[in-house]
């Protein structure tokens, strides 16, 4: 049974994009702030900080989750993936490249979160249709693109394997 005292820092161990990480966090530290402020992983963006905007979405054990609705202490032993882990040694992965090609971003604030949700969808439902893609994208707010380019980018990748 793991007990963490309030207001004190405690060691948390997990993997971040395949790399083992061990760092200290207070029980109330959000995973989103942990990633940015303690691990320098600035790819995960922080928007609303109450689960509405989707900007901070990361994958925990493969599942897309809001990093602002999870405490760092809760990911002990888990595998965390962020946007920094998407690119391959050859460059952008297929989803990233499609976002670039179809102008799926302007300011890029929402993009990391969208990529992480679409990554789970692509891993689990590689043939997802446009309705399903739009349903998943409805968990993300983008103020620049009107979503059209994002949907086009996803359609370019889904159903191709």
């Amino acid at each position: 049974m793991r007990y963490l005292e309030a207001g004190k820092r405690h060691t948390v161990r997990f993997t971040l994009n395949g790399r083992a990480v061990e760092r200290e966090a207070e029980p109330r530290l959000l995973l989103s702030d942990f990633l940015r402020q303690h691990l320098g992983a600035f790819g995960t963006h922080v928007g609303c900080e109450h689960g509405s905007c989707g900007a901070c979405t990361v994958r925990v054990d493969g599942k897309a989750v809001r990093a602002c609705l999870l405490y760092a202490a809760q990911v002990e032993g888990k595998a965390i993936e962020t946007v920094e882990g998407l690119a391959t040694p050859d460059g952008l992965n297929a989803l990233q490249a499609a976002m670039q090609k179809h102008h799926g971003l302007q300011c890029g604030f929402c993009t990391p979160g969208i990529l992480m949700s679409l990554s789970q969808l692509h891993a689990e439902e590689p043939d997802a249709d446009e309705a399903r893609i739009r349903d998943v994208l409805s968990g993300h707010i983008c103020r620049c693109t009107g979503y059209h380019g994002i949907v086009q980018a996803a359609l370019d990748v889904f159903g191709k394997d």
Partner: protein
């Protein structure tokens, strides 16, 4: 940091969790998809968070021999949404899950957490009432109809944990409908209605109509159910459901608009339920 300071405990058994809850201003965290926003806004300041995610044996969907289902309280929304057992035995639950927030929230949120949070505009409390769920806790088994007291309030004691949701088998020739209206995909419902209709010959053996988002708990409208005698009576039942609710005005919709929605959504849900019940199986 956004949330207030708290102690954190990740027990490995229900006994450990219950013991921890007996002491002080403790709060259970399951998926945390409603609790953590409230903490981030500092609407709550528990002294201790009891994280039940590492307790084994609370995440399951099991079939009863008689056609019912038993669902562990820690089962994620995404698991419910994608479960073949749920789809086969309680397709209305599958249909309602499609309205619950978004992928990332469904990956994390749990059925037990949603029921214990008791948001009157949330789908799962309404579905528990519609499907006549029995809610098993560390102390007792409570019928869904007795579980919700008012908005965000249930009969659970401070040191009581919901462990299992039991859905009794539907009777043969039961059809269902679920209709929701929200301003944006994944938002809480302005109003939603779930209905089941069970036919015996040409007669209605049982009708259940539950309204979500128009009362301080999910609301079963028996006055409307009693009016449903044949297909032609759907309009009268829908009007009765509309007249039975007293929703509040708020930022998102007026009370009049919500009442109107309840009438329209009840008519649609009953029509779908009747068609499914009458269809040859």
């Amino acid at each position: 940091m956004k949330p207030p300071a708290f102690e954190y405990l990740a027990p490995r058994s229900l006994e450990q969790a219950v013991a921890a809850l007996a002491d002080g201003e403790a709060k259970v965290i399951a998926g945390g998809q409603s609790l953590v926003p409230m903490l981030n806004f500092r609407l709550l300041a528990p002294s201790l968070l009891v994280d039940i995610n590492r307790i084994p044996g609370l995440d399951f969907i099991e079939a009863d021999d008689d056609g019912g289902l038993r669902i562990g309280a820690l089962t994620r929304h995404y698991t419910l949404e994608t479960s073949i057992l749920v789809q086969e035995r309680f397709p209305v639950l599958r249909a309602a899950m499609a309205h619950v927030a978004h992928l990332a929230i469904r990956n994390r949120g749990t059925i037990g957490g949603s029921l214990c949070h008791g948001d009157p505009a949330a789908e799962l409390p309404g579905l528990a009432l519609l499907l006549d769920a029995q809610l098993k806790t560390t102390q007792r088994t409570v019928a869904a109809v007795d579980f919700f007291e008012s908005a965000l309030s249930t009969v659970l004691a401070d040191d009581e944990i919901l462990t299992e949701i039991q859905l009794p088998a539907p009777t043969p020739r039961t059809g269902w409908g679920f209709e929701e209206f929200a301003r944006r995909s994944g938002d809480f419902a302005l109003a939603a209605v779930g209905a089941t209709v069970s036919l015996s010959g040409d007669a209605v053996a049982e009708a259940r109509i539950v309204v979500i988002g128009a009362h301080d708990t999910p609301l079963r409208v028996s006055a409307a159910e009693a009016l449903l005698t044949d297909r032609a009576s759907i309009a009268a039942a829908a009007a009765a459901a509309r007249d039975a609710v007293s929703p509040n005005d708020d930022l998102h919709a007026s009370a009049d608009y919500r009442r109107h929605l309840v009438g329209v959504l009840t008519r649609r849900a009953l029509t779908a339920a009747w068609q499914r019940a009458a269809a040859p199986s």
